[in-house]
Symmetry: C2
Subunit: 226 residues, 2 copies
DNA sequence: TTTTAAATGTACCCTGCATCACATAATTAT
DNA sequence: ATAATTATGTGATGCAGGGTACATTTAAAA
């Protein structure tokens, strides 16, 4: 690995920005960069949790196998950490992570990560802050999915993709209708029906996996009303 | 406030156990102990988030007002911290906390808490560990509620109360049927119907708010099957 | 290209459970 | 004690949306 590659990496997390030169050198020595192709499993639910992973670039879905079906809990977009809760919360992974685009990641040894928590308060605070925000996001996801019905949940999912993942009202859906159902918590058939209703009502433009949100105002209303 | 009251407090969190004498003195100076009665609102969703709170003793429900109804996300049982995600994740509270028994708490100033994170790696790690476990618990709650139907969700709620809150198969329900519905995510009427079905099948003994789990095995099966 | 497999769209049926409506019991206030 | 409020039980009704079934399109493999 190249010398001081971490130091000059432009995809550092807010936490890694707090590290000094010595710490960055240490990071380099216990960090391994690699890539995953679309569809590759990054880590698996029920397996022993291993490393902290930093997503440099790409999209990763976090999904859990429930009693009935697969559930997509969130989509992580690089640059961000991946799997901290499952790495430090238990020995066993409580969820899986799968690449939904080509993904560029760094594996970081737990020991090094933990040492930074111990020795660098700013680093710890950044990680803690991320975890808190993630927790709030999960509560929000939870409430939205539990209390809204089909149209509201799908509207949520579309707005989530447009606003937080692609930052564009026009995007190429990086998943199948089935997976969108896993995200919006409804069946593949309902996704089809609802998407076509949204299309008929000129809320979205739909062409296979190409989606354009035409009437965000109305979509937000559908999301709010449930 | 009494001198060195924190130092000799027997209800310290794992995190507070890592504090040295000086830090404990500092904690004392920025810590205020008080009580809440059953039903008292401790902090409110949409209000500015204020302090870190440590529950010394008692039960607190964490609840969110969703688009349709109130949702009880979890029950916090002292000794434990309360509201760290909402205090550090955003300026505004994303959920409310209400005492469901008499509750004895310590308010801790954010600044002091944050200083401990910065200066004491072990403290930071303990908090981080708690947050991770809390996150995993939430994912679990989420999946269970999204994919199971009525009987499974109610079975979950009863097992949760027995195993994690009261550590006893026999307990006095600290809430109304309506609130149990908010926890199990079903209507008041469904809670009534389901509880009485469980009673008829000799899975539980039911007498007003007094509940005894008679057949935990079967209840677990109902929970697993959904 | 041809073959196979996976993804998608639509129609229909069926069921879980929310909601309504009302009776009764238990609390709380006066 | 009496009234008023809130909590609880139970039947009847309606409907959202999951599941099934099948047609069709698209993508992957041979």
């Amino acid at each position: 690995m190249l010398y001081e590659i971490c130091k000059y990496c432009h995809l550092k997390s807010a936490a890694a920005e707090t590290l000094d030169s010595d710490e960055l050198k240490k990071l380099e020595r216990s960090c391994f960069q690699t890539q995953f192709a679309k569809g590759d499993l990054i880590f698996k639910q029920d397996a022993l949790s291993a490393n902290v992973i930093f997503i440099r670039e790409g999209l990763v879905k976090i999904h859990i196998k429930g009693p009935e079906r697969e559930q997509i809990i969130k989509i992580n977009k690089g640059p961000t950490f991946l799997g901290i809760p499952t790495t430090f919360g238990d020995i066993i992974n409580h969820y899986s992570a799968t690449a939904i685009t080509t993904v560029d990641v760094c594996f970081i040894s737990n020991e090094t990560f933990q040492q930074f928590i111990y020795s660098n308060g700013k680093f710890a605070y950044e990680i803690l802050h991320d975890l808190c925000k993630c927790q709030l996001h999960t509560y929000n996801y939870c409430i939205n999915h539990l209390q809204k019905q089909g149209p509201g949940r799908l509207a949520d999912a579309l707005l989530y993709l447009a606003n937080e993942i692609f930052n564009d009202n026009n995007f190429l859906l990086p998943m199948t209708r089935h997976e969108l159902g896993d995200l919006a918590c409804c069946s593949r058939e309902s996704v089809s029906r609802l998407l076509n209703e949204f299309k008929k009502d000129n809320i979205i433009q739909l062409e296979g996996k190409k989606i354009t949100i035409l009437n965000k105002e109305l979509l937000s209303q559908i999301s709010k009303r449930g």
